[in-house]
Symmetry: C2
Subunit: 304 residues, 2 copies
């Protein structure tokens, strides 16, 4: 990809591979009658995606010298949670998408019931993995991981954001009241909170002091928002062949996005400013956070 540092390129690839192997171990194939739900979990979780969230977990964990196994299991749990949200969001009753990561969505590949259950199972498995002794010797660390992820994923976080998003799409009346502040809040809930957890997980595992946690939280906040604005831009400007998912959906549904509110140029500017701001929060880490700086550029430049 243009402009991506070699260090980032190698790290993204290596970490994606390591997370893939971990997921493969954590969600086995089984031959029992209920094996179909494992198959659908594996279909949705293996062999695809940017693995941005796991990358953030592994990269912040490295800053705090966290043991590899702890970091990988936590990264895998976050990816399970992310994939559960994609499966449920793609359902006919929600966004009704046929394509994801260039393949049929889970309910198109299997059926709706299996997709609902595979999502439920991934969500449950994510918490099981975080709470397990193999993830960290200290149970208070594990409890903190479970609490923080639940808060980020629950009705005040991701699920609430998705509800909010669906409501704005469906009711023209509320749509008119949406401004940049409201859209920002919605995305902060829908995607920002899990990106925030991903950046925080390494700090929790490494028992980092509050000051460093705050820096990562501020970084994640700006990165997450920049990520979302680029998503809105890609829905307008992206190349469907590269994207691997439906495109032009926002415009077709008359959805309020950063692009409809700000226009293409100002939306692009806004993302860039947030990216700079994200990087500025990393000063306290000096040279330890170079990959986190590089990933901001990657998020801004991404084509899918």
């Amino acid at each position: 990809m243009p402009g991506m540092s070699d260090a980032l390129k190698a790290a993204l690839r290596d970490r994606a591979d390591a997370v893939e192997s971990t997921l493969d171990l954590l969600i086995p194939e089984i031959t029992d009658p209920e094996g179909r739900v494992f198959e659908a979990m594996r279909y949705s979780v293996l062999g695809g995606g940017k693995r941005l969230r796991p990358f953030l977990v592994l990269t912040t964990a490295e800053i705090f010298r966290v043991a590899e196994r702890s970091a990988l299991r936590t990264a895998a749990a976050v990816e399970m949670l992310h994939c559960y949200s994609l499966i449920h969001d793609d359902l006919p009753a929600m966004d009704n998408d046929d394509l994801r990561r260039g393949r049929p969505t889970c309910h198109r590949q299997y059926d709706e019931a299996t997709a609902i259950l595979a999502g439920d199972a991934l969500l449950t498995r994510a918490f099981e993995v975080l709470a397990a002794e193999t993830t960290h010797a200290d149970p208070s660390v594990r409890c903190q991981l479970v609490s923080e992820l639940a808060r980020a994923a629950g009705p005040h976080g991701m699920v609430g954001g998705q509800m909010f998003d669906l409501l704005t799409e469906r009711h023209g009346d509320t749509r008119d009241a949406l401004d940049v502040a409201a859209i920002t809040r919605m995305h902060q809930m829908k995607t920002g909170r899990i990106i925030g957890f991903s950046c925080m997980a390494g700090a929790i595992l490494g028992k980092a002091p509050p000051q460093l946690r705050q820096a990562l939280q501020a970084y994640a906040h700006d990165l997450g928002l920049a990520f979302q604005i680029v998503d809105d831009l890609l829905d307008v400007e992206g190349d469907p062949a590269t994207m691997g998912k439906s495109q032009g959906k926002d415009a077709a549904s008359g959805k309020v996005t950063f692009v409809t509110l700000l226009g293409l140029d100002r939306a692009r500017d806004h993302a860039r400013i947030l990216g700079d701001q994200a990087i500025s929060h990393l000063k306290v880490f000096d040279g330890e956070a170079d990959l986190l700086r590089d990933v901001v550029q990657y998020v801004l430049d991404r084509k899918s």
Copy 2:
């Protein structure tokens, strides 16, 4: 109810009230745009149900002198998990039910998207509540609660059982291969594991010795199965006015149940034998477990 001891009657009522108040506090009404998902969670969780699982949590917790707040929060978490499973199982893509606890199911009252999200949010909130410091001072106890509930609810437990159940309903070929052993395994996964957790939770909170945990596990196993057989009996013999949910569905769908496999009389006998067996496991608790003994009779005699 006929045959129910006064002690059990009072305990069921008092504990259901206490759980109701706890749930009311743990899932507040909110006025934000995403408030609809909280509303749907509250609709599904408040004001109904037998509260059997919370009752088992509170009653085993009492045996081990667990603090009331710990027991109530754990009981509420189990009920959230139970209600999430009902919401998702009732969806059109699953069992397609219109009626639950005498009221429209969540997706009939709201819509499918809201019901999916309300279920997801309840599942997530259950883990959040268990992992919170307010539930127990000892983080290793909290981690154990999260692990055990996740295992009971995940693809090897409840979700796997529901997948298995759906597959047997839909494919005539597998249906012919179903015998009592296969049906027992399926129900042990689908409902037994969560009933098992409910009986175990008090022992986990009270750090009970292994021998007592095993006794409770054995009790829960037999109670859960008896519960399920009565469910199958009620689907044939129950009074729709009392049941508060659709009835006669098993026969209509040609589903394999304990009743189709054993006939009414032998199914009733089987439930009674399991009930006696459940009670026999409680010997080690002497007079401390009278309510657990009474609840077996209640489960066998229930009309809804």
